[in-house]
């Protein structure tokens, strides 16, 4: 029997990477591997899916045991796996450069820097490191990992918010003004996601194209200072009521936000993969995104990539996308792009990567 146990800093509900951890475990188990999740912190509905990492005592006798570290911000879990005797593989989903947080959340910047340092220290220990994009894999190469590869995030369209919260959908529909557009962005409210740039572009769009356009920002408020700045910005631009910061919401509510939006706008400064792009494509929203980090790789030809994100360019792009024919064509392009991320294909890539070092179960 071969065991591949995952070690993760945090397992949280409604989190794309946590969903990936659970799916990795399911995929490994289905393929005959023994697999559990060990975490420093597991919470909410998924709290029982992980064991405390300190309780790991090694594999059962006769079992060939591998550790798979799910890299994240600085964590004692990295030090723990580094000190273990079992062979190691690393799964990397990107660590946001600390520079984005230095001014806003200096404490967070410390953890991000520590995460990158720990990752570098794991390089000589790891027999294999895989990442969910070539962009992330290039970072692993730069950090000194010898054997690297790409295994896209395990994403299942069937998991996506099939239920829609009716009350939220009705409220959002009531707020809508006939003939005007609603923009949506989903992601942690944090400096690297640059929600303030979306607000800025909306201000330009309302001035030039559609005075009743709205923006809905859904996501966990990761940086209190940044969230407050965005709120002040919205108020100062006279956009109170036109911009909603919805916070973190349950899946069914998120489904309602997707169902009532007209366009998905992503102006992030940094993304290691960007699962919400896939969600937007799944929900039939045309995507307008700033080409940075792994965004071009994830979006492919499934949406409109912009080389610049000055507010006039973004506003003009969204205005073009609101043309019904182009809107429909982009929705079709998004659906076609999603086929490239089929779960079966990505599960096979994961199993191939694991088997290349640990052997087939």
């Amino acid at each position: 029997m071969i065991a591949v146990h995952q070690f993760v800093p945090t397992l949280a509900p409604r989190d794309a990477v946590s969903t990936h951890y659970l799916r990795v475990r399911a995929t490994l188990r289905a393929a005959g591997y023994s697999s559990d999740i060990y975490a420093m912190d597991s919470r909410g509905e998924v709290a029982k899916e992980a064991r405390p990492f300190q309780t790991f005592r090694g594999g059962r006798s006769g079992e060939s045991t591998w550790l798979c570290y799910q890299s994240s911000i600085g964590s004692p879990v990295a030090d723990f796996v580094a000190a273990r005797p079992e062979p190691l593989m690393v799964d990397y989903h990107n660590i946001t450069p600390a520079a984005f947080f230095e001014r806003w959340e200096p404490g967070m910047a410390v953890y991000l820097r520590a995460g990158r340092r720990q990752l570098r220290e794991l390089a000589p220990r790891a027999q294999l490191a895989f990442a969910d994009s070539s962009y992330n894999a290039a970072e692993l190469d730069a950090l000194g990992f010898e054997h690297t590869g790409v295994v896209p995030i395990l994403f299942d369209r069937d998991d996506l918010h099939t239920e829609i919260d009716a009350a939220t959908r009705d409220r959002l529909a009531r707020e809508r003004i006939e003939g005007s557009s609603t923009w949506l962005f989903v992601g942690q409210v944090a400096p690297h996601k640059a929600q303030h740039d979306i607000v800025k572009a909306l201000a330009m769009y309302r001035r030039l194209f559609d005075p009743n356009a709205r923006l809905r920002l859904v996501g966990f408020p990761l940086s209190k200072a940044y969230v407050e700045a965005v709120e002040h910005y919205v108020a100062d631009l006279g956009l109170t009521g036109a911009v909603e910061l919805a916070g973190s919401v349950p899946d069914a509510v998120l489904g309602a936000y997707f169902a009532t939006a007209d366009v998905y706008v992503c102006l992030s400064e940094h993304e290691g993969f960007c699962v919400p792009l896939l969600e937007a494509m799944h929900h039939g929203l045309p995507v307008v995104a700033y080409a940075t980090g792994a965004v071009p790789e994830t979006l492919g030809a499934g949406g409109l990539l912009l080389a610049r994100k000055d507010p006039l360019t973004v506003a003009t792009a969204v205005a073009r996308v609101m043309d019904p024919a182009l809107h429909a064509a982009l929705v079709r392009a998004g659906h076609a792009r999603l086929d490239d991320f089929s779960l079966a294909r990505n599960e096979a890539a994961l199993l191939d990567a694991v088997a290349s070092v640990a052997g087939r179960s």
Binding site: A229, D236, L237, L312, T313, R320
Partner: protein, 342 residues
């Protein structure tokens, strides 16, 4: 069957519409800047902007509460927390006092550093302000008489050629017109936008930031303009290190400089006066490139003065004296990295 989407065409259409709207003044030109300024009011200050304010913030964060919070939403939670606070209160106070003492020492050290940095900035004439001002200055007019030696130097080159800073794209267009695969980098948004509007491939980016994103050995050549005439000495050294690293074996490096004693008037005079550095002599480039394995293969100089016409003995003597008096003018310097040994 639906027509496949032409995303490149769509992007070009959007760029064209943006340029047309800018040109037509469809929205107040200061609107974008105003939007940025409003957000900047709520963004935390950068360390380089106001070190005193940053230190004040650090000091405020260093004050950790001695009282353990005991509020709770759960029934009975507050009682439990109060009990725990009573039991661990001494330990909490012990830790807090040590952390506050440590943080206070760090903030104190920051204040000392801040005082030293401010006096250093005063002594060096606020280089950061000069840099900021430089980003707002207009691009100097393109001098076509320096194009020919640049094009000659790049003839037959293999690999991509970086032209930086490319301004409105005049030199870049000439280089591409001679059959070279070239692209530009220009930090000033409006100039970059105008160059893109001409159909040129131009990245609106800072040169050093762009070079950091280029892989080592990836470029077949580089043409450096503008930035070389206004960078301070330390910045020049960093730029040379970076560009040399990004060039492949046998690559060509061209420096187009206004020259250390070029006479300047108008917008060029403002550029020359309000920038942290100044143009350096061709000998300096030769020295820097040789130290990094490159060899200077040509220097085409223009005189820094209007030569006295004629070939009489008097005019010859006058021109020699004028050259001594004014030194070299604008020049194009070409350097090459050695080819790998066969």
């Amino acid at each position: 069957m639906a027509e496949p989407l032409d995303l490149d065409g769509l992007r070009h259409e959007i760029d064209a519409e943006v340029r047309a709207r800018r040109a037509a003044g469809d929205y107040p030109p200061g609107f974008e800047r105003e939007l940025d300024a409003i957000f900047a009011r709520y963004a935390p200050p950068a360390a380089s902007d106001d070190i005193e304010l940053v230190t004040d913030e650090a000091e405020e964060a260093a004050g950790i509460d001695l009282a353990i919070p005991t509020a709770s939403d759960k029934r009975g939670g507050a009682y439990v927390k109060r009990g725990l606070a009573k039991v661990f209160g001494w330990y909490h106070a012990f830790l807090v006092q040590q952390i506050v003492r440590f943080a206070g020492a760090v903030v104190g050290a920051l204040r000392v550093l801040g005082v030293h940095i401010e006096s250093l900035e005063r002594a060096t004439g606020h280089a950061a302000r000069a840099h900021e001002e430089a980003t707002r200055l207009p691009v100097p007019a393109h001098e076509t008489d320096r194009d020919a030696p640049v094009v000659d130097a790049l003839r037959g080159i293999t690999g991509r050629v970086l032209v930086a800073e490319c301004g409105e794209g005049d030199l870049l267009a000439t280089i591409i017109g001679s059959g070279v695969d070239a692209y530009g980098v220009e930090p000033r948004f409006t100039s970059a936008d105008n160059a893109i509007g001409r159909g040129l491939e131009v990245r609106n980016d800072d040169l050093v930031a762009h070079l950091r994103a280029v892989k080592p050995g990836e470029l077949g050549g580089a043409v450096l303009v503008g930035v070389v005439d206004r960078s301070a000495a330390g910045e020049l050294l960093e730029l040379v290190d970076l560009v040399v690293d990004r060039l492949g074996k046998g690559a060509t490096l061209v420096v187009v400089s206004a020259g250390p004693s070029a006479p300047v008037r108008g917008a060029s005079a403002v550029n020359a006066d309000l920038t942290p550095g100044r143009p350096v002599h061709p000998e300096t480039w030769t020295y820097l490139f040789e130290a990094r394995g490159f060899e200077t293969v040509a220097v085409a100089e223009s005189p820094a003065f209007e030569p006295v016409p004629g070939d009489t003995v008097q005019s010859k003597v006058l021109n020699e004296n004028l050259a001594r008096l004014f030194g070299p003018g604008a020049y194009v310097l070409v350097a090459r990295s050695p080819l790998p040994l066969a």
